[in-house]
């Protein structure tokens, strides 16, 4: 819509009477800020409805909120570890019943995957490590050597030593690891094995190789 702004007097494009201002009247000021967040109201709200029914429903509501928290459907978020473990925490835990849904009514993908289902070499290694706690260590180590031969030559020596130490740790800890999920167990193993050594993996494990290698190199440069 082409308007003649700036030429002559400003003329409204619409009938100003319709909006309610007579010609020549002072228009209200332009508001330069947003309206207040909690404006004062002229009319206060009506009082709340009270009565027997409302009181009962109020009590019900509060009760329901409490009950819901204790039901097995309420999924607790795993809490972060506190710095000091409080003795009273053990006694304040609410024991919840386990709820098992009716799997016939749900899609098959809803069922939790069975533990130790993966048949990869990694999980086999983890399983063997777990089961190894019940076997004696030498047999354990032999088995692991066999496994590792499948995996590859590069890391063999390192892993061998790591696992030996790892299994020793585990035999002390007992059978707890066996019950973990295969993937978790494997990660746990690796982390534990990594943490347990103070040495970074990229360094040589044995002192033997170091000397031999360096000797080889030194042979070349004898001045």
């Amino acid at each position: 819509m082409a308007g003649n702004k700036g030429r002559g007097r400003a003329a409204y494009t619409f009938n100003i009477e319709a909006v309610g201002f007579s010609r020549g009247e002072k228009l209200p000021d332009v508001v330069l800020k947003p309206p207040p967040l909690f404006p004062d109201t002229d009319y206060k709200p009506v009082p709340l409805r009270t009565g027997e029914g409302e009181d009962y429903m109020l009590a019900l509501k509060q009760e329901l909120r409490e009950t819901m928290k204790r039901m097995p459907y309420f999924m607790e978020t795993p809490e972060e570890k506190q710095d000091i473990e409080r003795y009273s925490k053990r006694y304040m835990k609410v024991y919840k019943e386990e709820w098992i849904p009716d799997w016939r009514r749900l899609p098959r993908e809803m069922m939790p995957t069975k533990k130790c289902k993966k048949a990869g070499p990694k999980s086999k290694k983890a399983k063997v490590t777990g089961q190894g706690t019940s076997l004696t260590n030498p047999a354990d180590v032999l088995k692991k050597i066999e496994e590792l031969e499948k995996r590859g030559d590069g890391e063999k020596s390192d892993e061998e030593n790591e696992e030996k130490e790892g299994s020793k740790e585990k035999s002390k800890e007992g059978d707890d690891d066996e019950e973990d999920d295969a993937a978790e167990q494997e990660e746990y193993d690796e982390e534990e094995q990594e943490e347990e050594n103070d040495y970074i993996n990229s360094y040589f494990e044995d002192g033997d190789d170091f000397g031999a290698d360096s000797d080889d190199n030194m042979d070349e440069a004898t001045y």
Binding site: Y12, T13, F14, N15, A18, G20, T41, D42, Y43, P45, V46, L48, R49, T50, G53, E54, Y56, M57, L58, L60, K61, Q62, L64, R65, T67, M68, M71, Y73, F74, M75, E76, T77, R90, Y91, M92, K93, Y95, E97, E98, P101, D102, R104, R105, L106, P107, R108, E109, M110, M111, P112
Partner: protein, 553 residues
């Protein structure tokens, strides 16, 4: 990308056409999902759903639920990826949501199962206390507990419900008395007969001749006549009291609680037949209550009783969304009046004529056979109730003169500015001010009627009108927003005063245990004084505020 639009303007979720990419293409999904969402949830409603889910099921379920509400139908892996939750937890959360009828699943092409959240169903969680209280008024404590158990657990078999309710009722009874399963069963059957509980869709028993791998998800079916069919069970037994060793004070470990597995060994007679609360039936009941009380307010007690009788007679025969009930003859109504009411046939006929002539048109006459055939105009009645609510809101918010203008515009449908001033007999400036106030809050809207094809403002009529449907929807949205604000406020207040609340709880527990072991008055007094007077004051204020916020919801 074109999705066909349904009649009501809601987009239909259709099977993907041949041109659509597979479900792995995550870049194209958002647009499709956005199309589907066009008329579902506003931000305030999503916020409210989030708060409700969080309070009832915890944060993990809340995250999954809100994600589904926002993005529409999605398969399992996409949910896990988008929310950053582990697959295991997503599965658990979905199981919980499906159990409570908040999420449904559908099998799409290529065996992909998609999950969709039922947004409006989540909002119904606000009404749980009202449903339970209604069951209490109609079927007393037994009915109340049955509905409560069904709402808390989503779906249950009849035998499980009966057992649980019998146990709970036995707890509250005097020593030595127990609640019989038969009585609970009877109440359950009555609830099923009046359609307050209904059967969930079930897995059809397929013959094993179906070749190939089993489907990724079962298709659940239910047909009308099976929905309220109670299985023939012979539930014999009585409710059990929990052993007193289990009733420890809250601080002690419940180490002696018997293991849950012991009960599961028995075969369940009605395995696979699950029941749920029929929320639509409750809504129908609320609607009926609203209509009856409106008639009572407008006319008198007797007419409201007549209307109540008519509604009761059409409870089961009329579907809940019908515009009017089945025609009922005056003779039938006379026979069905409650026993205590002894009005003569002529008086009944006079009342019916009065009701039918009333300008509100709650009752209409549809014929003359059988002494006069009368229907209740449900949609008209609900419309009138909505309009009355709107009028009352305008009156309470803006004052009675505004209300006068509002009623005027409602009555005359379309009015110009000048006409409003004339008809309402309110000075021009004030009328303008009030109209604009209501316009800014969307109670009133403007209708443009151009005189010329170029829609020039100086040559256009601007008419004020009230669009009842959109105003009502706006009011509903505002209510949801207020509820969300109230819940947040309550949470804030509770958190601020957490220390004080815990202290008072501990003191109460101590007092209770001391009373149980027979302590002296002086000792009790001492313990009560552990909470100082200002703290007590603070507690009182807190309780009042929390109750107020809950009450307003």
């Amino acid at each position: 990308m074109e999705q066909p639009r349904g009649k009501t303007g809601w987009t239909e979720v259709t099977e993907p056409g041949p041109g659509r990419p597979g479900f792995g293409a995550s870049d194209r999904r958002p647009r499709a999902a956005a199309l589907r969402l066009l008329s579902t949830m506003t931000q305030a409603e999503i916020k409210l759903c989030s708060l409700l889910l969080q309070e009832h099921f915890g944060e993990i379920v809340e995250k999954i639920g809100v994600h589904l509400i926002r993005t529409g139908s999605q398969p399992l892996r996409v949910i896990a990826h988008d929310t950053g939750t582990s697959l295991d937890q997503v599965k658990k959360a979905l199981c919980v949501l499906i159990q409570h009828n908040l999420v449904i699943y559908q099998v799409h092409k290529r065996g992909v199962v998609e999950y969709e959240a039922q947004c409006s169903r989540v909002l119904r969680m606000l009404r749980y206390p009202r449903y339970i209280y209604t069951a209490k008024t109609l079927y007393s404590d037994t009915g109340e507990l049955i509905v409560e158990e069904l709402l808390l657990n989503g779906k249950m078999t009849m035998s499980a419900v009966v057992k649980k309710v019998a146990d709970r009722l036995t707890e509250t009874m005097e020593d030595g008395k127990t609640m019989d399963y038969a009585e609970v069963s009877n109440t359950f059957v009555r609830l099923a007969d009046t359609h307050f509980v209904q059967r969930c869709p079930f897995v059809p028993a397929t013959e094993n001749s179906d070749p190939g791998p089993p489907p990724p998800a079962p298709t659940l079916v239910i047909n009308e006549k099976d929905m309220y069919l109670v299985p023939k069970l012979s539930l014999i037994g009585k409710g059990k009291r929990r052993r007193s060793s289990d009733e420890d004070a809250t601080g002690e470990p419940k180490a002696k609680r018997p293991k849950h597995t012991a009960d599961n060994k028995e075969p369940i007679p009605d395995d696979g037949i699950y029941w749920q609360a029929n929320l639509d039936r409750f809504h129908q009941h609320f609607r009926d209550q609203g209509i009856v009380s409106a008639v009572a307010n407008r006319m008198d007690q007797t007419s409201s009783e007549i209307v109540r009788t008519m509604l009761r007679m059409s409870e089961i025969t009329t579907p809940s969304n019908a515009p009017f009930t089945q025609p009922l003859s005056s003779n039938e109504i006379f026979r069905s009046l409650p026993v205590g009411y002894n009005i003569s046939k002529q008086v009944l006929d006079q009342y019916l004529t009065l009701l039918a002539d009333d300008p509100l048109e709650f009752v209409g006459k549809s014929g003359d056979s059988g002494g006069g055939m009368y229907v209740i105009n449900l949609h008209k009645a609900l419309g009138s109730l909505a309009t009355a609510t709107l009028e009352s809101v305008v009156q309470e918010r803006f004052g009675s003169r505004c209300a006068r203008i509002f009623r005027l515009v409602l009555q005359k449908k379309h009015l110009e500015q000048k006409q409003v001033e004339d008809f309402a007999m309110i000075p021009a400036k004030e009328a303008k001010d009030m109209l604009y106030k209501m316009l800014s809050e969307n109670f009133i809207s403007l209708q443009e009627i151009p005189k010329t094809p170029d829609h020039a403002p100086s040559r256009t009529f601007y008419l004020y009108t009230v669009n009842i449907l959109s105003a009502a929807r706006m009011l509903l949205h505002r209510c949801y927003k207020s509820i969300a604000n109230l819940i947040e406020r309550r949470q804030f207040e509770t958190k601020e005063n957490k220390r004080l609340l815990e202290k008072s709880q501990r003191v109460e527990a101590i007092i209770a245990s001391m009373q149980a072991t027979g302590a002296e008055e002086a000792q009790l007094q001492e313990i009560e004084e552990m909470i100082t007077a200002p703290e007590r004051q603070q507690l009182e204020t807190l309780k009042r505020n929390v109750n107020k916020s809950i009450n307003r919801m």
